[in-house]
C-alpha cells in the first residue's frame, strides 16, 4: 500500500493546496515500512493532483481539501481522508488502527452534523475510517 500525506514539517499540512512536501509511505507489511519525502511545491493544484496520480498513491491523508479536488482524486481510484490534522506519524498510526475518526485528528467543523445546507463536506472522509475499522495491508 502506498500512502501519501502532504506535510508541513512533521505535521499534516493544514491545507492541501499549500503543502510544500509530500510524505510517501510504502508499506509492504507491518514491519516493512519505507518513508520518503518529495517536494510538493507544484504551483497549480492540477499539477499536484497529477503528481498524486503519477506516484501510484492508494491512500491520501490530508488537511483541508476543496471538494472539486477531492472528487478529482477519488475519481483516480485513490481513497481520500481529508480534513485530518496532527503529527504525520500519529495520523498514520491512527489510520492503520481505524482511528482517524477520533476528534484528535478531525479538524474543527467536521466533528458533528450541522444544519441543512451546512452539512460539512469535511465529514465525508470520516465515514470510511470510523468505528475502529482497521486498514490492514
Amino acid at each position: 500500500m502506498r500512502i501519501a500525506i502532504p506535510v508541513w514539517g512533521d505535521r499534516v499540512s493544514t491545507v492541501f493546496d499549500a503543502a510544500e512536501e509530500l510524505l510517501i509511505i510504502d508499506q509492504a507489511s507491518k514491519h516493512s515500512v519505507r518513508k520518503s519525502k518529495i517536494p510538493f511545491r507544484e504551483t497549480s493544484i492540477i499539477n499536484k493532483t497529477a503528481l498524486i496520480r503519477e506516484l501510484g498513491i492508494d491512500v491520501l491523508i490530508c488537511g483541508a481539501l476543496t471538494r472539486p479536488m477531492e472528487y478529482m482524486i477519488e475519481a483516480a481510484g485513490i481513497r481520500v481522508f481529508s480534513f485530518v490534522r496532527g503529527e504525520a506519524d500519529e495520523v498514520l498510526e491512527a489510520f492503520h488502527r481505524g482511528g482517524l475518526a477520533n476528534q484528535t485528528f478531525i479538524m474543527p467543523g467536521c466533528q458533528r452534523g450541522m444544519g441543512r445546507g451546512q452539512r460539512g463536506a469535511c465529514r465525508r472522509g470520516r465515514q470510511a475510517n470510523r468505528g475502529g475499522r482497521r486498514n490492514r495491508l
Binding site: A18, S44, A121
Partner: protein
Amino acid sequence: MEAKDIILDSIADGVFTVDLDWHITSFNRAAEKITGVPREEAIGQQCRDVLKADICEKNCCLKETLASGKAIVNKTVHIVNAEGERLPISISTALLRDDSGTIIGAVETFRDISIEEKLRKTIKEAYSFEDIISRNHRMHRLFGILTDVAASMSTVLIEGESGTGKELFARAIHNLSPRKNRPFIAVNCGALPDTLLESELFGYKAGAFTDAKKDKPGRFKLADKGTIFLDEIGDISPALQIRLLRIIQEKTYEPLGSVETVNADVRIIAATNKKLADLAKEGKFREDLYYRINVLRLELPPLRERMEDIPLLVEHFIRHFNAMQNKDIAGISDAALACLMSYEYPGNIRELENIIERAFIMCKSGEIEPHHLPEFCNTLKEDDQHTGPTENMSIKDMEAIFLTNTLRKNAWNRTKTAKQLGIHKSTLFRKIKALNIKIPE
C-alpha cells in the same frame, strides 16, 4: 452571554482572538458562518485548524503581528470552509493587550470577499480550470492533459455542443499557459457576416473601403503574443478559411487594404459545436485547414452524459446567484433536484444556469422546490417512471439509481461499469455495498 460576545456577534465581519499559544479564545457568529465551524468547536483550538487558510503555516499574519507588533490590514488570503469550498477572505490583525499593556494575544477580523472575486473574474474573465466544476471521468481526463495542452504552443480544437463550456476551457488553457499575461481575445465567427468578420479578424487600413477613415487593428493584432479564441469556426466561409490557413501556416497576414505583411505571434484555440471532420468530409470545410486546426483536440461531453455533475453545478449556481443577487436561498430540495436529474438539457450547462436563475426569481426564500422550476423539468420521461428519480428521493437514492442503471447498461459487468464511470473498481464495489445494490446472479 457576555456583553463583548453580543457586541462581537453583531459585527458583520468574522472576528476571533487567540492567546499567545494560538488557541482561539473568542469566535463570533460571522466567523462561524464564513468558516462553517461552530463556536463551541472553535474555542480552544489552534487557529490554523479552524481557519484553514493557505497562509497558516508559511505566512501567518497573526504570527507576524505578534512578532513585529504591527497590524496587518486587508490582506487577501484563501480559506477552505467546512463545506469544502475555497473562499477568498480579506483579513486584518492587531495585538491584544491587557489593562497593564502586556500583550496577551492577537485579534483577527476577516471578511468574505467572494462577491468581489466573482465580479473581478467576470470583468477580467480570469477563469481557471478550478472554475470548471466536474466529477465526471471524461472531464477529469481532460483536466489531466490541460497543463500539457496549455504549455504547448499548438493550435487547439475544442468540440462540444452549445453551452458545454468551450470558452471557459479556452480561457483556462490560456490562463495556464506562458501567454497568460498577454491578451485573450474571443471572436464568435458565427455571429458576424463574412466581410465584417474578415475586417474584425485582420483589421484594415484607412481608405480600404468607404467609411474606413482610419486604421483599425484586427483581433489578431489585439491578441499579439496572446491567444485568440475562434468560436464557431465551422461557420466561416471558404474564402476566410484560406486566409486562416495562411495565418496558421505562415504566421503572417495582411490587413484589408494593406500591402504590408504583418507577423502574427498568436496562439489559436478554435471551437465548434459541429463535427469538423464531418464538415471536411462533406467538402464544407477545407481539409487542409481542418488538419492544421486539429492538432490538439478536446471533446467536451454534453451535460446529459455527465449527470453526476448536476448536484455540484446546481450548488455552484445557487452560491453564484446568492452572491450576485444578494439573496439567501438555502439550497435545493431533494424533490427539485430529482426533477433536474430527470431532464436532458439540450442547452447543456447554460440551460441549467438559466433554470436556476429563473428559480431565483420564483423562490423568495428557503429552498428551491419543484414548483420553482420550469414545467418541462417536472415532466419525467415514461421510461424513467420505474428507474429514474422521483419526488421524495435523497441524493443517496439517486446515486443508487444512477449506478444501477449504468450497471444494467453494462450487463452488470462491474469492471466495464467502473471503466465507464471513470472510477476505480474497488470504489465501485464500495459504493455497491454502501448503497445496497443487488447484482443479479
